[in-house]
Symmetry: C2
Subunit: 288 residues, 2 copies
């Protein structure tokens, strides 16, 4: 079996922190490096690309499926967030994942759990502004998962670019002993970023959706040619509305590391967008 | 050498996270269990009792000295908090500590460090009410130290009883892989709890100070006999003022686990107090 250093490799599902921790510890005792891909399930080719990245970098790969209630706002879609554990499990097993951790909410947050990890600044802007408490929920659950498993590498997608930066910041600030790896966004043939929420698009909306990617690429191209916010982002927002998007929460060109406004034109930039298309709210981003 | 499983044991000081982590990892690779006692320096017999507890439980003992700016309020005594690294180092070396981690503020909080660990509820009352941000500062730095070192056991004193509970809560909530051990309060012959801040008492104040312990013991005794708040705590506060204390921030009989008001008389209780005596603010607590 490719990449196998010890014993046979069977796909296994565990639902308790104790089993999760014990399996990863056992691999570590055998000098196997462990890669981790935390997910909320409803898996698609985007998730599978993160898993392949983890497999390239390590000897054993763990995925988690946990729809984290603490990162959803009161008016958000926790209750109806897509859940498909049977299909997900099959995908992970076929994809060569070694271990799936799929805990209950009670296992992750036993009675009395109150501690929060927050990342002020980069966690308060853009997504953080439109989804108050979102990044605190993400930072807290990712801290827990990383300390439960203690993987060598954890892989996060650039699709959630701000989340990747928040997690990098948190891991550095709290001295969590793990390497955070970012993986490029997987896209449909027409450019639409793969997302669990795409399944809520109607056929007409699905036809419109790829314009999100086209328009932020156009914004990036215009930025390279010298156009600047706010005129540039105003142009982009109007283009989205003209294409059929319902509301644009934000479309910004920001410093690619800090997500602050760009003062130094020599620094790398990133175009980030969140816009509503029917029921789902879509996000995307591209480098400049 | 007593308790030594591998090699010679020399006292060593490190100042970087990388060296701290590497030394503890090296011990773990040799199957040695590591005990950790985080301190803010200005060591006294109270700290040394925590170190002895760590030594009883593990094979190697690490202390840290770091006066954490993020747990002091703007009007608190960070700038004048006692620092005595020479004397502290001697005490630790003579006490058989294997490693001292004594980082700079810049090493612990490099530019851009923003992430916070907060423990709402138990971290907001009593000390948390009088020292806003205090327990967030404590929880954040203790999380960092625990993840830097990854000790098997970390020892905290019951002198800071609420801090011990906040840390237990945090470690449980974030799944930090460490055993938290509480150690009883060390006292002077006259009952005054050992504290770095005692050195700021004048001779007259030092003569008054032991009454803090006597009065909370009297409150505990009266509670056992059936007296109840608020009359009981009013009595205790008045007794402190009569003894010569300047201001009583709080004197409470609380649930020993949650620090909430006692609804169930069958649950264990704790008397907790914070009161000013001249320049220093003294805290103490006793079980009922």
């Amino acid at each position: 079996m490719v990449g196998s250093k010890a014993g046979d490799r069977k796909f296994r599902i565990v639902r308790t922190v104790a089993e999760f921790r014990e399996q990863v510890s056992a691999w570590h005792r055998n000098d196997l490096r462990v890669g981790f891909v935390p997910t909320m399930g409803a898996l698609h080719v985007g998730h599978m690309s993160l898993i392949r990245r983890a497999q390239e970098m390590t000897d054993r790969t763990v995925a988690s499926i946990f729809v984290n209630p603490r990162q959803f706002g009161p008016n958000e879609d926790f209750a109806v967030y897509p859940r498909a554990e049977g299909k997900d499990t099959l995908l992970l097993a076929e994809g060569g994942v070694d271990l799936l951790f799929a805990p209950s909410v009670e296992e992750m947050y036993p009675g009395g759990a109150v501690t929060k990890v927050s990342v002020p600044g980069i966690g308060d802007i853009l997504e953080g502004e439109y989804r108050p408490g979102f990044f605190t929920g993400v930072a807290t659950v990712v801290t827990k998962l990383l300390l439960q498993a203690q993987p060598d590498v954890a892989v996060f997608g650039e699709k959630d670019y701000q989340q990747l930066l928040v997690i990098r910041r948190m891991v550095q600030d709290l001295d969590i002993p793990v390497q955070i790896e970012g993986a490029p966004t997987e896209r449909e043939d027409d450019g639409l970023a793969c997302s669990s929420r795409n399944q809520y698009l109607t056929e007409n909306e699905r036809a419109v959706a790829p314009q999100l990617y086209q328009i932020i690429n156009a914004v990036a191209e215009r930025y390279r040619k010298g156009e600047r916010p706010p005129e540039l982002t105003h142009w982009g927002k109007q283009a989205l509305l003209d294409a059929g998007f319902g509301h644009v929460d934000y479309l910004e060109v920001r410093d690619a590391e800090t997500l602050q406004g760009l003062s130094d034109p020599a620094r790398a930039a990133r175009v980030l967008v969140a816009a509503w298309l029917g029921k789902p709210r879509l996000i995307d981003n591209v480098p400049v």
